[in-house]
Amino acid sequence: MEISTPLSTKDIAGLKAGDRVYISGTIFTARDAAHKRLVELIKKGEELPIPLKGQVIYYVGPAPARPGKVIGSAGPTTSYRMDPYTPVLLENGLKGMIGKGGRSTEVKEAISKYKGIYFAAVGGAAALIANSIKKAEIVAYPELGPEAIHRLEVKDLPVFVINDIYGNDLYEDGIKSYCK
């Protein structure tokens, strides 16, 4: 299945845990330190350096680009570290997240409540994923190094739907079917 960003609630309603999805369009990167700053700005009522409405955040700290390349290897980082910040971002319009690994109960509830979606990319498949990134530029917090916020233009970024608005969780369901 192919989808384009920004995402609408209607787009998200059509996605179910287990779907293999190719994402195209603009997405933003943000990891631990960037999340902390974004949530602090929201709490202070200040303007954010990136739009949130309908947007997708990719949890990644890319490797530097070799000359002539758009970006270095860029696989997902473990998502649970962003859990404390995610419900606030969803409440403020964020629609999608790309990472790897399970999310907290609070995040899963916020995904259902605010009609968001959580995707996983293949952790470690960083060189492969980098090939679906066509443009990359730092748009905030360059001083954070690999944790700076980048705007990425992606074409057919391969992900799986993990948590959908219906309360499904691919990690739980997938493991249940193979647990002996």
Binding site: A126, A127, G174
Partner: protein, 279 residues
Amino acid sequence: MRQIDKKEIVSAVAQLVQEANYFLGDDMLKALHDGKREEESVIGQDIFAQLLENAGIAAGERVPVCQDTGVAVIFLEIGNEVYINGNIYNAVNEGVSKGYQDGYLRKSMVKSPIDRINTGDNTPAVIHTRIVPGDKLKIIAAPKGGGSENMSRLQMLKPADGIEGVKEVVINAVREAGANPCPPIIVGVGIGGNFEKAALMAKEALLRPVDDSSENPVIARLEQELLKDINKLGIGPQGLGGKKTALAVKIKEYPCHIASLPVAVNINCHAARHKEIVL
């Protein structure tokens, strides 16, 4: 005494950290091929295929297999007949700095765990030194990413907990890690010694080839039993369900105190990266 110049160490380390990040070992590639064939889950087979394709791209383009090019963990085995012309730790750190810069590797180290300002060159390395007989210097670079490292644990069991207690610690660590450490994983286990020795052994165990077994038949059997039990958890490649949660379990053991039974578990993702050189 044989003399080794500091410059040789700088350039060897710079080269090792790059190669370790670009090229998976043949043992690892074989394990991924075997995993793809043996995995029952269709999503799991697809993930193995993506990991193999990824390894091919990384090696071909000389880009890191994973964007998390890790803490530079460096093991040094220094022959007692070697004279190092210069400060060996400075040499290793200069090598790490050069290798991460020249190789377009991600710099992931922060100066203080509290203030968290990036050091900008991935130094300092975490360096483990052993003095061994001879006139050689062996350097092993084992870059370790945060995702799998964060899933590690150490438990001080009672001797009465025995082998069943050890198994429980390992299985629980893998179960609770779930999808986070990028399965299929390699599980390093250190049993015995004391608090810090167990942790170091768990990491050292990860340096062994994926397809070998412990030389101690009791430990070799425990490795096989643990692998079987882990692969019954159903976690599977990337935690999306499947037979292949782990590709191998590697155990190191050491004598310990009559009162103690330390067990450390260090989990490695499918990119079990390490390269070595002997100077």
